[in-house]
């Protein structure tokens, strides 16, 4: 269909010089003195054709300018239709690429169902969070510097998103999941999350539950050696995960991102999610 349209335009532009030829003849000053009998016209035509083949640049230039209004209108109509058609095709292609990209991310299969215990000692399942956005960070309460910094960043980003979010759209809930179930019981997690934000939900569980959720989110964690006080550091992946209201993983943010960058990215995801629903 697209090919047909371009071919149409092509044939139009090519036929233009031939059709303007007569009008060109009548205005050509060099032809004024001749008696325009049939024969001379024919020879002229031959000469003209010869010249229009590219030997006389002057005539060629003139020929190019001798375009009647009808041609302009026809060109505009067909040209405009072709441009519109191409724009439509382009939009369709972009849409299909976007869809494919979404599917490709889906195939990475990050995230998934989990069942943990919140800071109030209640069982929390991933399905309890359907209908809201989740921003998840994995860490541990005895973390010396990176986790507290990242959690501050996460809560700050959530506050920033709150400011630009349209009222009535799904809320964004920041979630902390411990990778140190040995020490981080409900009590430890409860007092830990309170320091950051009242919105923050802290989740813990038994070793098996934590292993299950970290595996789902591809989070690496490894307990370091214990010192004389039985204290230790847990080495772990430093990444925030964004999950949409249908429970699908959408995006992740590394340590190099600022709160502003994280908030901007989330706001854009929220916008396109809402637009996709309409």
């Amino acid at each position: 269909m697209q090919r047909l349209a371009t071919r149409l335009i092509f044939s139009r532009t090519i036929s233009l010089p031939n059709r303007t030829f007569k009008s060109l003849l009548s205005t050509n000053p060099t032809q004024k003195h001749f008696d325009v009998s049939k024969q001379t016209l024919n020879t002229c035509l031959i000469q003209k054709r010869f010249k229009s083949a590219g030997n006389d640049p002057k005539a060629k230039l003139k020929q190019n300018f001798q375009v009647s209004w009808r041609h302009v209108v026809v060109l505009f109509v067909f040209g405009g239709a072709a441009v519109l058609f191409m724009l439509k095709l382009k939009r369709e292609k972009e849409e299909s690429i976007r869809r494919q990209r979404k599917q490709a991310v889906g195939k990475m299969a990050i995230g998934g169902p989990f069942e943990l215990i919140d800071q109030n000692g209640k069982v929390k399942k991933s399905s309890d969070f359907l209908g809201q956005w989740m921003l998840i960070y994995f860490g541990f309460t005895h973390c010396p510097d990176i986790c507290p910094e990242e959690m501050d960043k996460m809560c700050h980003a959530v506050d920033l998103v709150e400011k630009v979010k349209i009222k009535g759209d799904p809320v964004l809930t920041p979630i902390f999941i411990t990778v140190d179930p040995e020490r981080d019981d409900v009590k430890a997690v409860s007092s830990y999350v309170k320091d950051f934000s009242p919105k923050l939900i802290g989740l813990t569980g038994d070793q098996k539950q934590i292993e299950q959720v970290t595996k789902a989110y591809r989070v690496y964690f490894s307990q370091g050696p214990k010192d004389e006080d039985n204290d230790y550091i847990v080495d772990h992946t430093v990444i925030m995960y964004l999950v949409d209201p249908e429970g699908n993983f959408v995006d992740y943010f590394g340590q190099n991102k600022t709160a502003e960058e994280v908030a901007t990215a989330i706001a854009i995801h929220m916008g396109s999610y809402q637009a996709g629903k309409q």
Binding site: H142, P144, D145, S191, D195, D227, D231
Partner: protein
């Protein structure tokens, strides 16, 4: 260590004394003998694990600063002092 290290208060107190100690090391060309008071406070306010972590982190940050400088002479000097003493 009087307060819980995992609380906001405990954490920030530890970071504060760590920064004072690090500043002292900065001003005295890494001479730990000149920063013993600061070190004592640092060890009082942070857990042993955290101290170990921060000591390692300081070494890493020093190394990173040298590499980030992009200055070949500075990098060579640093590596010479570190590995050919």
């Amino acid at each position: 260590m009087s307060v819980d290290i995992t609380s906001k208060e405990g954490r920030e107190k530890c970071w504060q004394t760590r920064d004072v100690y690090w500043k002292c090391l900065d001003m005295n060309a890494e001479d730990q003998k000149k920063c013993q008071n600061e070190r004592q406070l640092f060890e009082r306010d942070c857990s042993k694990t955290w101290i170990k972590h921060f000591d390692r982190r300081r070494e890493y940050l020093k190394f990173k600063n040298v590499i980030d400088s992009g200055d070949k002479d500075v990098i060579d000097d640093f590596l010479k002092n570190k590995y050919h003493k």
